[in-house]
Amino acid sequence: MASDSDSSLPPSKTGPRSPQEGPPDNEVVRRILKGESELFEELVRRYQQRVYATLYHMTANHEDATDLTQDAFVKAFRALATFKGDSSFYTWVYRIAVNRTLNFLKQRKQRTFMSLNDLDVQVEHDPDLVSLISDRTPERDARLSELQSALNAALLKLSEHHRLVVTLHDIQGLPHEEIARIMECNVGTVRSRLFYARQQLQALLSDHLK
């Protein structure tokens, strides 16, 4: 099981957080547009983990998620002059990434195969998962692996929009309002999609849920 110090997702239930350090996003964007294009790397560093994680959960494929993350940031850089600051840079870049991924998934429909990342070492101590896995180590590893495959396969059976809502809300921890801004729909639509997606997942994973 691989672990990566900076790869663990923020278990944020409060939505996107403002950057930990450095100038605000809008200030960085303004300087990039004035010619300091190398500063774009700073924006990539701020949001790469969340963008990658969302695209990975949407595709269940590390290589596809990597390509799509790169595409999204390259596209964002080229369209930076059109960023008006009506929404946060984070929402804007997320929207680019999500739209690109939805288009990609439409084309990929016929060839879906998973290339899953390893689980990190903290997984065995996650209180939410303890009751779902066995106490004995060899069985626990097998159980985790089985759960991971079943969960990803079930997610891939959802429509792209339903999978996106589950990913952004239940995995990434974004609030409904932020998801509505990213998906350019109203909050009611987000809630109803989430409800329907959970119902479907519950039925698909009934054998694995206690």
């Binding site: 900076d6 959960h57 899953l116 996650d126």
Partner: protein
């Protein structure tokens, strides 16, 4: 559409497993450099930027597909009509000036296809 508090509790706990799926070590150290290298390697023209933006609009995608279908259809129609219009024209009409019936019926007869050579000498 509000859910009962514990209706999806097990599912939500199972979904936390997804937060523990991590890319290979060092992935996020390398990714920004790869993105910046791509940006430097492929500077886009103004035209590409406009096209990129247009392709994001769904009605433009449909219009572009329709236009492409029309062009392909037109080319196919042209390809069908062109050879058939050639085949209905009389054979003699396509012969070059200066060729005569004898040169067609008698292969040993000298072929004078050059109109200059058939001109009477002064």
């Amino acid at each position: 559409m509000e859910n009962r508090p514990d209706e999806f509790d097990s599912l939500r706990r199972l979904l936390t497993l997804k937060r523990h799926e991590a890319p290979p070590p060092g992935f996020f150290e390398r990714l920004p450099g790869q993105i910046m290298a791509r940006i430097e390697r492929q500077p886009s023209s103004r035209w590409e930027q406009v096209l990129d933006r247009l392709l994001e609009i769904s009605w433009f995608q449909k219009a572009a597909s329709g236009a492409m279908a029309l062009i392909v259809g037109g080319l196919l129609l042209l390809a069908i009509v062109q050879p058939s219009s050639n085949s209905v024209s009389p054979a003699g009409a396509t012969l070059p000036a200066g060729s005569d019936a004898s040169s067609r019926t008698n292969p040993s007869a000298p072929r004078s296809l050059d109109p200059v050579s058939t001109r009477p000498l002064n």
